[in-house]
C-alpha cells in the first residue's frame, strides 16, 4: 500500500522521521514473516532430517549438543532439533492463522449485524459476546479441548470459539458509529439491500482496525495455542509442535538446554514479528493514529 502523507496526518514535520522508522519496521515484519512462510512451505525439502519430524528416531545420536551436523543438537530420541523446529512452522503458525481467519469471519458477521440493526438484536448479541469475553481464552479453550479430540483440528476449533468476540466487539463499535450517518441513510433510500450496505458501505470502515488487530492476534493466538499444546491438549507426539517440544524437553532441560530453547525461541520470534506487523500497520494505515517514535 502506498502512503498518502498529506491526507493522513496534520503536521508533516512531526511525521517525517516516524514514517521512515515505521516503514523499516513494516519491511522487517513483512520480510521476516514471508521468510518464515517460505521456510515452512519448503521445510520437508530443506531440512537435513525430514523423517525426524514424522516419527523416525535415531537413538544412537541421542542428546548431542549443537554441532555442524545438528545445528540445534538432537533430542532424547536422537532426532535433529533443527529439522523438527523448522517443520514445526507448519503447525503452530498455521493453527494461529486459521483461528484468526475463522474468528474474523464469525466475529465480523456478528458485529456487523449487532451494530447495524441495533435494538434488541444488538443487546442479545453483545451480551452473548460479553459472556464469552468473561472467560479468558486459555481457560475456555482448555475446557473445549477436552470435549474435542486433542490435535491441531480440535485446537483450532477451541481457539476460534474463544477468539471471535474480540472482532465482534470491534466491528460492532465501528458499525454502530456509521449506521446513523447520512450516507448510509442515502444507501437505504436508494433501495440497496442490507447485505450490500453492510458489506460495501459499513464494513470498509472497520477494515483498518480489523487488519491491525488480526495481525497482532496471530501472535497472541500462537502463544495461547502453544500454551495449550504445552499442557498436552494440542497436537500429540511425534508431531513437532513447538509447545509440545518445550513440554517434552522438561525432564532434560537442566542438562540439555538446546532441547527446549530453540522451539521456544521460534514461538517468540514469530509472535514478535506479528506484533511488529500490527504496530507498523497501525502507524501507516490508521489516519487517527500518530506514529509514536
Amino acid at each position: 500500500m502506498t502512503a498518502s502523507p498529506s491526507l493522513s496526518r496534520p503536521s508533516p514535520t512531526r511525521r517525517a522521521p516516524g514514517a521512515l522508522r515505521s516503514r523499516a519496521t513494516l519491511v522487517l515484519a513483512v520480510g521476516g514473516l514471508l521468510l518464515i512462510a517460505v521456510l515452512a512451505l519448503l521445510a520437508p525439502v530443506l531440512v537435513p532430517y525430514p523423517e525426524h519430524a514424522t516419527g523416525a528416531t535415531d537413538t544412537a545420536q541421542a542428546l548431542r549438543p549443537p554441532s555442524a551436523a545438528h545445528w540445534f543438537g538432537t533430542d532424547e530420541l536422537g532426532r535433529d532439533v533443527f529439522s523438527r523446529v523448522l517443520c514445526g512452522a507448519r503447525i503452530g503458525p498455521v493453527v494461529a492463522v486459521l483461528v484468526v481467519a475463522v474468528s474474523l469471519l464469525v466475529g465480523t458477521a456478528i458485529g456487523l449485524i449487532a451494530g447495524y440493526f441495533g435494538g434488541w438484536i444488538d443487546e442479545v448479541l453483545m451480551r452473548l459476546t460479553d459472556v464469552f469475553l468473561a472467560v479468558p481464552a486459555l481457560l475456555l479453550a482448555l475446557a473445549l479441548t477436552t470435549v474435542l479430540a486433542p490435535g491441531p483440528a480440535g485446537l483450532t476449533v477451541a481457539l476460534a470459539v474463544t477468539w471471535w468476540p474480540w472482532y465482534a466487539r470491534l466491528v460492532r463499535g465501528e458499525a454502530a458509529s456509521v449506521t446513523g450517518r447520512a450516507y448510509i441513510e442515502a444507501c437505504r433510500a436508494l433501495g440497496l439491500g442490507h447485505r450490500r450496505i453492510l458489506l460495501r458501505h459499513v464494513l470498509p470502515n472497520a477494515s483498518t482496525p480489523l487488519l491491525v488487530q488480526a495481525s497482532t492476534d496471530v501472535g497472541g493466538v500462537l502463544l495461547v495455542a502453544s500454551g495449550l499444546s504445552f499442557l498436552g491438549l494440542g497436537p500429540q507426539a511425534p508431531t513437532p509442535d513447538w509447545g509440545l517440544m518445550v513440554e517434552q524437553s522438561q525432564n532434560y532441560f537442566t542438562t540439555h538446554w538446546w532441547l527446549g530453547t530453540f522451539p521456544g525461541l521460534a514461538i517468540m520470534v514469530v509472535a514478535a514479528l506479528c506484533f511488529l506487523l500490527g504496530d507498523a500497520l497501525r502507524d501507516r494505515l490508521d489516519p487517527r493514529h500518530i506514529p509514536r517514535t
Binding site: P17, R127, L128, D130, V131, F132, A134, V135, P136, A137, L138, L139, L140, L142, A143, L144, T145, T146, V147, G219, L223, S226, G227, F230, L231, G232, L233, G243, V246, E247, S249, Q250, F253, T254, W257, G260, T261, G264, I267, M268, V269, A271, A272, C274, F275, L276, R292, T293
Partner: protein
C-alpha cells in the same frame, strides 16, 4: 458500556446497573460451561463410581448426581446450589469443589497480585523513561524489551528461569510453594488469607522467607506480560499527554522535565493503565495455569489441569466460574473506580 442516558446518574445507580450486568454475564458463563461440559463424551457417574462398578450402581450414582434429569433442570439446580454455596462435589477428589477451590485460590491470587505489582513497578518507570527520551537509545531499549516481554511464551520463560536460577545456580527453590518443615514449625495465621502477606503482617520471618523464595520466580514470570503491556501503554499515554496544551503550558512555566512528566503527564496515563490492569489481571490469572505447571505450584491452574485430564466436570465448571467471577469483579471494580474518579464516564 452504555450507562443509560439519564442526566446526572448517581454513582450508586451506575454501580447497581454494572453489578447487575456482571451477574447476568456470570449466569451466562455458567450456562456456557455447563453446555460445554455436557458435550463431553464422558460418564461422570462412571468416574465417580469407579471402574469396577456394576451398571446398577452406576445408574444409582447417576440419579444421585442428578445426571438423569434434563440439562436445563441441571443448570437451574447447579446455579441454585452455587447461590447457596454448594459448588458440587469433585468427581476426582470426592471433596466439595468449593472448599478445594477456595483452599487453592490464595496461592494463585498472591502469584497474580505479586506479578501485577512487579509489572507496574517495572512498566510505569520504563514507559516514562521511553517517553522522556523518545526516539533515542533508552526508548529503543525499552521498546525492544517490551516487545520481547509480550511475545515470550510464559511456560518457556518459566523453564528458562527455573533452569538457570534454581538448577544451575541453586539460588532459589525449584518447585512448590513453601518448605513443609518451615511452615510446620512456624504456622501462618490468617488475616488476609494470602499466605505471604499474612506471614509478613504477623512478623513470621521464617515462613515469610520460605514463601517468598518460592514465589519469586513464578511471580517474575507472571509479571513479564503485564510489565510489557503497561510499559507500552504508559509510553503512549505520556507521549499523547505531552502534546496537550496544558502540559506545554506547564513546561513553558519552567517546571523541570521530571515534574512535567511525573506529575502532570503521568496523571493522564493512570486511567488507561487502570483499565488495562483488569484485562491483564484476567490474562495473568490464566497464565498462572502454565506457570504452576512448570513450578509444580499448588494453585487453581494445577487443579484445573488435573480436573481436565480426569474429566472432572464439577471441578472444571467450578474453576471456570471462579475465574470468570474474579475477572468480572476486577472489571467491575475498575469501572466503579473510574466512575468515581471521572464523572464523564457515569454521565455518558
Amino acid at each position: 458500556m452504555r450507562a443509560g442516558n439519564g442526566r446526572g446518574m448517581p454513582v450508586l445507580c451506575y454501580a447497581a446497573r454494572r453489578a447487575g450486568l456482571s451477574l447476568l454475564v456470570a449466569l451466562g458463563v455458567v450456562v456456557l460451561t455447563y453446555l460445554i461440559a455436557r458435550v463431553v463424551p464422558s460418564d461422570p457417574a462412571g468416574v465417580w463410581a469407579g471402574p469396577r462398578a456394576t451398571a446398577a450402581e452406576r445408574a444409582r450414582v447417576r440419579a444421585e448426581l442428578g445426571l438423569d434429569r434434563p440439562v436445563h433442570e441441571q443448570i437451574v439446580s447447579y446455579v441454585a446450589g452455587v447461590w447457596h454455596g454448594d459448588w458440587g462435589v469433585s468427581v476426582r477428589t470426592h471433596r466439595p469443589v468449593r472448599s478445594d477451590l477456595f483452599g487453592l485460590l490464595p496461592n494463585t491470587l498472591q502469584m497474580v497480585l505479586a506479578g501485577l505489582v512487579v509489572g507496574l513497578m517495572v512498566g510505569v518507570p520504563a514507559g516514562l523513561a521511553a517517553a522522556r527520551w523518545h526516539g533515542r537509545f533508552p526508548d529503543g531499549l525499552v521498546r525492544f524489551g517490551a516487545l520481547l516481554g509480550a511475545s515470550m511464551p510464559v511456560f518457556w520463560l518459566a523453564l528458562l528461569l527455573q533452569m538457570f536460577f534454581a538448577s544451575r545456580l541453586g539460588l532459589l527453590p525449584i518447585a512448590g510453594s513453601h518448605d513443609r518443615t518451615v511452615l510446620a514449625a512456624h504456622p501462618v495465621t490468617g488475616v488476609t488469607g494470602l499466605p505471604l502477606l499474612d506471614a509478613v503482617l504477623t512478623g513470621n520471618g521464617a515462613a515469610a522467607t520460605s514463601l517468598l523464595s518460592h514465589l519469586i520466580l513464578p511471580a517474575l514470570v507472571v509479571a513479564t506480560y503485564p510489565a510489557a503491556v503497561i510499559t507500552r501503554l504508559v509510553r503512549a499515554s505520556v507521549m499523547d499527554a505531552l502534546g496537550e496544551t496544558h502540559i506545554q503550558m506547564v513546561r513553558s512555566l519552567g517546571f523541570p522535565e521530571r515534574a512535567v512528566l511525573g506529575r502532570f503527564a503521568l496523571r493522564l496515563a493512570w486511567n488507561p493503565v487502570l483499565q488495562l490492569s483488569a484485562l491483564v489481571f484476567g490474562y495473568s490469572l490464566v497464565n498462572t495455569f502454565l506457570v504452576e505447571a512448570v513450578f509444580n505450584y499448588p494453585g487453581l491452574g494445577r487443579y484445573a489441569a488435573d480436573a481436565v485430564k480426569a474429566l472432572d466436570v464439577p471441578a472444571v465448571l467450578g474453576v471456570t466460574l471462579l475465574v470468570a467471577l474474579l475477572y468480572l469483579a476486577a472489571n467491575l471494580a475498575v469501572d466503579l473506580a473510574q466512575a468515581a474518579l471521572d464523572p464523564r464516564i457515569r454521565l455518558r
